[in-house]
Amino acid sequence: MEKVKLTIDGLEISADKDKTILQAALENDIYIPHLCYHPDLEKVAVCRVCMVDVAGRGLTISCRAPVEEGLVVKTDSEELKKVRKVPVQLLFANHKTDCITCGKNDDCELQRIAKYLGLEADELNRLRFAEMDDPIDDSNPFFDRDPNKCVYCGICIRTCSELQNINAIDFSNRGYSTRVSTFGGGPIVESRCESCGECVVRCPVGALLPKTTEQPAREVKSVCTYCGVGCGILLGVRGHKIVSVRGDGENIVNRGSLCVKGRYGFGFINSPERLTKPLIRKNGELVEAEWDEALDFAAEKLKSCKSDEVAVFASAKCTNEDNYVIQKFSRAVLGTNSVDHCARL
């Protein structure tokens, strides 16, 4: 890709020709406030907080403006100071600001922008604050939707449509009454939403939050055990428990995406009902056994069967290699073609 050179706040940087000013800045660790921009999605330029001052052009929406050779960009100026705070102040006047108890605290783009722009209490107190008492949609088993925190960036909508192709949600009404709604406005659980949670991870504020927001002490790279795709995940560990799962953005298989099972289906790990030892049926009752005993028992039984008396059922929780071996074992050793697998959930 051809590169162009531009300066941002006096710093000369180079960027691929197809990048926007915002992307070039972020790649070079220069922060420009932004709310509706998301690297995976169409650029809709609706939040208007990513303005920069471009020499010869004046105020420019950086998330859509392509870089050009020789551009001279300022991320701060008198004019920017004058206008850029206002949209953010207005967002706060229309936001349920219970930050301390919000699951997004400290990880919220609105907070970050407010801090960067230096919003002050005096300024906010001049404004007319809206009453934020829209009902929360907690119908989904995995996440909640709180319209009182929504900034209407449309990231969730674009995610659902552009990345997931589900189109479970869209804007409804207009003007100040705009809301993110399902078709017909009912609870999300009754919509065509597949609970993939892709929107939830992209929501820049606390409007979409997983039901459990327990924070891990550390994260461990792993691979999702649900199916053969092998999505990369980051398991969040706290003490001896797995408390969170994130898609691994660096993994080339899924580039951070996950499905409902991989993202939310980790409750079994710490479940007291989970089997941790093999069971052998003795006198009609399943009894816990040691692995050696169980394997010997299984081997004995298999040996005593004819080929057409056995069928093998493999688990999607095993790796592809494991599954290959089991079908080979079935066909070559046991002599049966009756092999099946559970990965059709």
Partner: protein, 628 residues
Amino acid sequence: MKTKFEDIMVKSEKEWESMQCGEKPVILVGTATCGRSAGSLETLEALRSEADKSGIDCTIIEVGCIGLCYAEPLVTIAKPGNPAVCYGGIDAEKAKELVEKYIIGNDPVPEYALGTIGQGKIADIEKIQDTSVFKPQIRRVLKKCGSIDPANVEHYIANGGYSGLKRALEMTSEEIIDNIKISGLRGRGGAGFPTWRKWQFCHDAEGDQKYLICNADEGDPGAFMNRSLLEGDPHALLEGMVIAGRAIGADTGYIYCRAEYPLALERLDLAIKQAKDLGFLGDNIMETGFTFHIKVKEGAGAFVCGEETALIASIEGERGMPRPRPPFPAVSGLWGKPTIINNVETLASVALVMQQGAQWFSQVGSEASKGTKTFALVGKVKRTGLVEVPMGITLREMIYDIGGGILNDREFKAVQTGGPSGGCIPAEKLDTPVDYDSLNAAGTIMGSGGMVVMDADNCMVDVARYFLEFTQKESCGECVPCRLGTKQMLDILNDITQGRGKPDDIDLLEEIGYAVKRTSLCGLGQTAPNPVLSTLRYFRNEYEAHINKKECPSLVCRDLISYKIDTDKCTGCRLCFKACPADAIIGEKKEPHIVDQEKCIKCGMCFEKCPPKFNAVVCIPGQLKDGE
């Protein structure tokens, strides 16, 4: 060999002349929407039945609007050998009288006459062109409105119609664009962008498919210029569209017209059919091989859908939300193809430029704003209506000459142009010329042609609040500054007009207004604060009175006025006592009464009921406390 078009022209001229110079009297009745709402259909019916009854052979034609809204229903009668006489305020009764006195008899009834049209004189009736309403006007775009039958294409053709298309088809695209450039035509839809330049962009843009869209959304409250043109002269638009299509290289055009204009839509449908039948539209137009089709798309009537990118989204079947620019529609518009969007009046002007020549077009107007502009002149003027003036005329001429001055000869306060995107201009700026740049400098915009005149009874804070309420409701809600900024400003204005204003609110309004203008995504948000900012600029004292003194000087804002009884004048007749719905009047029979300010709901019933001979109830600015 004569071309087909010349044949059509000869036939049309014959038809037109037989009507104009025939043996029969011709009666024209204005039945555009404005006429209809004043009862012109009943007038029409009365004329028909009266003519039938008396067995008179005359031609009765429905025509569009000549713009004299204050005098609807309008009837024009042309008797052979006489100039036509235009009559105003003709209801069914008066219609019968006209038939009797002027059609059957020979009395032209000067009492009802507004003026004569055409050659010749009639005693006691002025020439309409010499009346103060018409004198400052130059009617070009609206010339045929009200004088031709919009449902009869031959009337249009006989008056020069489609000769512009004929000329354009003999030119290259470049030549057409050049002609438009020389004419100096700028967009009539609001912003005044030079039409030729936009066309050039689209013409130069790469693409095998290009589109032309006519913006007939006309969403400004109170504006009806485009509607009148569509109802009174629909072929003018079609001719302009085909020419524009030819210039930019489009083979398809859309007319985006609001569904609330049923008559305009009906006239358009008929006109499209007629133009197709005559070979002025469709495949192989005038046998030149040029193809252009027109589709009509009915809009549901959202203000924001007049914004060009939202309009495009709406035609595509999407939510009518504006899209960020660039890319500009001229490069990537409807379905991603190069697209030109022009206003109805712009396209009708294009037809005129091609019919009469670019030089002719630019003869009138000011240096940077050529030609004429139509306005819907409404509000507190004596003569409201649809007017067409040469650009550069002053606001004063428009209001005092054409409009006849302020209703009831009260004091002029302000004039608002540009609808919800425009601003208010005060008395000291009445000599501002009406052109794009002068209006901009005065803090408003030309807009599409709304002009609302206000007098001392209009509260400027309330006016600003009214427009903000409109834009706030019509904001699409997509971008933050417009969605939340208009709401915040409206909340503040509501507070100010209801007595909860804070001294700091004026600064706050200015700061938010400025930011909303600078940061909004589309023209709606970028102009929505204008009514507030312009009234703050010229009428700041009214804001201060509302906030600091809790007074509405114009006696409009209910919470900031009080009713009070002058105890010296009150005779205790008890009329107010009986009328008050809030039991707020205290006093014994035959004793002076007083208003209980705690209970008073400011409905003004007492004020209305107090007999003029006593005139004891007064309405004053401010919030009276009990006992004051």
